[in-house]
Symmetry: C2
Subunit: 312 residues, 2 copies
Amino acid sequence: MPTSESRPPLALALARTAEAVTAYIEGAIARSGAPGERLAGAIRHATLAGGKRLRPFLVVESAALFGVCADRAMPAAAALECIHCYSLVHDDLPAMDNDDLRRGRPTVHRAYDEATAILAGDGLLTLAFEILAGEEDDTDPAVRLALIASLARAAGVAGMIGGQMLDLAAEGRFAQGALHRAPLDLSAEAIIQLQAMKTGALLRQACEAGALLGQASPAERASLDRYARAVGRAFQIADDLLDVEGEASLVGKAVGKDAAAGKATLVGTLGIEGARAELTRLTGEAEAALASFGSAATLLVEAAYFVADRRN
Amino acid sequence: MPTSESRPPLALALARTAEAVTAYIEGAIARSGAPGERLAGAIRHATLAGGKRLRPFLVVESAALFGVCADRAMPAAAALECIHCYSLVHDDLPAMDNDDLRRGRPTVHRAYDEATAILAGDGLLTLAFEILAGEEDDTDPAVRLALIASLARAAGVAGMIGGQMLDLAAEGRFAQGALHRAPLDLSAEAIIQLQAMKTGALLRQACEAGALLGQASPAERASLDRYARAVGRAFQIADDLLDVEGEASLVGKAVGKDAAAGKATLVGTLGIEGARAELTRLTGEAEAALASFGSAATLLVEAAYFVADRRN
């Protein structure tokens, strides 16, 4: 793993971006004009509970490769984080994954109620586009349109939403006699495709947003995308390993759920050792993808290792 | 009510826009890249079941006031209709209004299941912004950004979503002992404000989209907005009257639900005769607002009367 003396270490950079994006989102919620306290409270609950803010970090650091400052990357970073947070609120609903706990706190529909959680999720999804189209930004309108199109594609039915739908189908959710459902027996390729959509699409969008802000060349965009694909796959394998090996108190949500649901994961297909080997391969792939950027990409490379090694 | 010999009558114009916007949305769904058939099927169920397509009509006709052709108004019209349709899918969910019937057919969560309905709604909401930011359009990028900002504001927590939240609160949904909830006793002003957000915001956005596409002057925008506010209020009163007086077979959904839920409506506050008088006042207001456009606004004025008189 490379080191750098001229840039702050990863933990510091992550914390700095997390603070900036949290403040940005907090301001956007305050300005959003939500009536009453309940809806805004639920949206704050969904967005301001911490979290690593990995996606905003990838936006900011990808943009930084091209000399774009963090302030100018902040709308794209915040909009993407709003999309991520809304997707968690809706995924946690009783009709979906039915989770009570998220980041160690009650999920939105447990802290409030289901109707409020549905509307808070819808509100956050809409807020993402309000942020990107907002009027106070002086980024080139054509670039801003490209950012909106990129985010909508990644979050839409060909990306995150489509992946969530495949995930429910893989659980046998829509089969006849779905009350006694049996998970489908997916191939490793099918699992990779499902996860590339469900969690990979937003991580790739983070790097694409940075490339768009930086008006990257096609070769630079392709390098960043290769990096983002590897990070996305590493992220999902690390998540699956945590579900098998982690402790709920550290992970901040229920563990062992995937196995209990018979959920298809690469850990189930490759075994724990096979999954660890794949993680090592993927971090190497992520590092190699950014070689042409040299030391400017140090933090992004460190982030790939961080994602693979994380314990929560 | 004015008549015109040079433009097709209202019914023909409505049908023409409905056909064009339906084809446009159908194409957007086909191109969206949804995996499998279930998600795309649910989205088609939500969007292609007919309906008057009143909002697209208002977009197209408002734009036509400034010489903008229907084709160029179609992305804005289709995006707004996607937002309208997603809101119906989510409003019908068991945790929200719990409706089984919509336009005479099963609601999406009844025809499919709750998880699919949540994701189909999320997908449609996202598709709206994908359409507006899509690359095949040659409208000025600054105008397209303004359209996106306008739609996000109208559909967001300060508009439609906020109004839906106020509506649930008015039903006493969030009160202590919510299982035995008692509706709040709202003033006429509070009901008007709630409805201005819940249903009015999207109808106003339709006319605002036309004004943005047409690069209308501030005075022209204000006139169209005055018209749209009056139409929005007339629309809601007509809806409330249908709930009291209509037959389910004509209306295409359950009737009498508002009274059963003790829902606050202007019909409840003003009485049926008072509500009819207010409808007459509002159609006059809508017509007066467009006087400066002369005969070019004939179809829009006829639409205001149509909205007030509709039987389904």
